[in-house]
């Protein structure tokens, strides 16, 4: 047996403090400009983090600085989506994943409520029709009428 076999195999731990490639700071400035536009003109800003030339750790650093706020929402529509407010009210993170749980997009949305959380107008109109169908005479549910009440 060679003494080389005694060399221990060491698996390096992932660096808990990711390297700072300096790409998070400009995004934070963009977020600040967006917040100001929201406060003064009610204008929504969306930043696509997929389009950023991030180095390894840049995204983690940015998300760590933005932190976690009071709202944390999950959506099930064509795969899971996760929406959470950051520690800075008005600054939201919207992550869409596909049915195979792979990330499709990661957006910073600067608005009072992210668009994806709102019920869509066409769906609301459809909901009236669907509810009417449930309440219709063939649905087996009798509506209370003024004479029987």
């Amino acid at each position: 047996m060679s003494g080389l076999n005694a060399i221990p195999v060491v698996v390096a731990e992932r660096d808990p403090d990711p390297a700072d490639w300096g790409n998070a700071l400009p995004v934070l400035h963009e977020v600040r400009h967006g917040l100001r536009r929201l406060a003064e003109a009610g204008e929504t800003t969306v930043i696509d983090l997929h389009a950023m030339p991030f180095g390894p750790g840049d995204e983690a650093r940015l998300l760590a600085i933005l932190g976690q706020g009071e709202v944390d929402a999950h959506i099930k529509a064509l795969g899971p989506s996760h929406v959470w407010e950051t520690a800075f009210p008005g600054v939201w993170l919207v992550e869409h994943r596909n049915t195979e749980d792979e990330r499709l997009t990661l957006h910073i949305e600067i608005s009072s409520v992210p668009e994806i959380l709102r019920s869509q107008r066409e769906d609301i109109v459809d909901a009236i029709a669907r509810l009417d169908a449930r309440l219709g005479p063939d649905a087996g549910i009798t509506r209370p009428s003024p004479t029987t009440a």
Partner: protein, 369 residues
């Protein structure tokens, strides 16, 4: 076949909510390198879009481009193929084989004449070459391409081989390979180079055609500006190190470990236009430079013949390549010169080598407590 239903109608029939549709559109905008604020416009366009017929021809290629397409994840390839496009002919993905496959191609071409999108991967032997180098069902690549081009609305040359000739066209180009652009002159050609192209770029180009119903803005090499408009170097997260003059000199020195610029290790990022630096590979996990390897420049014309992958861009090309492969005395002389250079490099390497004997290593081990 191209469907008479709009995409909005078919998605609704499948029970996809508008919230799901909005999410799909947000992913599509990101995939097309458009600002997220374009999502509502994309939703409006996709709502009315009809599935176009797509015919995909594979010539002198390695199927890497199809491998890449089947890994496009936004939308999933199932969404892309079944909901967004109608893929009527593709050797690798279709169930039909032999005569039935060719009949499907001919039927799709007839029924969608003037409307279908023709996707080609791989280069093809030039019209004057021996067609025997590459045939399908006994039909030469050139003949099959020209027949399909006649009824196509546009041609997408998928991958570097179709766009620029790629590996088959590299010196000494034994099959006389040519690119699609070399032989198709009367129809719009969109080049989507890369070896292979990024999956997101493949589906992004197809989605862009679907959403806007027209061809994207192209650069001088017929590449869509949305994906090939900026150089790897300009979008590289290691760019600040280039600006500071901090370079890795070998693959294991301090610079390499600290993630400095890979220019001196042969990175072709400054002369390469592609979207790897932002879209990345393997579902956005990483890309070559992030894993410590210089960009090879695979989306540029003649990248196989542009000198060593590991020589800096500033290194002059040897220029001896074509001479070496040519027969005759000149080739022998140049070949001899190259061999002498290689021997010199080898001798220098041997002189610098610091061999380690196993006894020394074991002695070191014994020293360690």
């Amino acid at each position: 076949m191209a469907s008479s239903k709009t995409l909005g109608e078919s998605l609704r029939e499948q029970g996809v909510s508008r919230r799901g549709f909005l999410k799909f559109c947000a992913a599509t905008a990101s995939m097309m390198a458009l600002p997220p604020s374009m999502a509502p416009a994309i939703a409006a366009a996709l709502e009315k879009a009809r599935r176009p017929s797509v015919i995909w021809l594979s010539f002198q290629e390695c199927t890497g481009c199809t491998e890449s397409l089947t890994r496009s994840f936004a939308p999933t390839v199932e969404d892309l193929i079944l909901d967004v496009i109608s893929l009527d002919y593709h050797h690798t993905l279709q169930a039909a084989a032999g005569h039935q496959a060719e009949a499907a191609r001919e039927q799709a071409m007839k029924e969608n004449h003037g409307e279908y999108l023709l996707v080609v991967d791989g280069s093809l032997p030039g019209p004057d070459m021996n067609p025997g180098y590459s045939t399908i069902a006994g039909i030469s690549n050139y003949q099959m391409l020209m027949e399909a081009v006649a009824g196509a609305k546009a041609v997408v040359a998928m991958g570097t081989c179709a766009a620029f000739g790629g590996l088959p066209m590299a010196n000494p180009n034994p099959t006389g390979a040519v690119s699609v652009m070399d032989v198709v002159k009367d129809k719009p050609v969109i080049n989507v180079p890369g070896c292979p192209p990024l999956p997101m770029v493949i589906s992004g180009v197809l989605a862009q055609y679907l959403v806007f119903g027209k061809l994207p803005e192209l650069d001088e090499y017929h590449r869509p500006m949305a994906f090939f408009g900026q150089s790897i170097h300009d979008r590289c997260y290691r760019r600040p190190f280039y600006d500071k003059g901090l370079f890795a000199e070998t693959f294991d020195d301090e610079g390499a470990q600290k993630g400095w610029c890979l220019y001196r290790l042969g990175c072709k990022g400054p002369s390469t236009y592609n979207a790897c630096a932002t879209m990345r590979w393997n579902s956005g996990t990483s890309w070559p430079v992030e894993s410590g390897h210089p960009c090879l420049g695979c989306s540029e014309p003649k990248f196989w013949d542009a000198g060593s992958f590991y020589s800096p861009l500033s290194t002059p090309l040897p220029g001896a390549g074509p001479v070496v492969v040519a027969a005759g005395a000149a080739g022998v002389v140049a070949g001899g010169a190259l061999a002498a250079m290689a021997n010199k490099a080898k001798a220098a390497g041997v002189a610098q080598r610091q061999p380690v004997k196993i006894e020394e290593l074991e002695a070191k081990l014994e020293e360690t407590p």
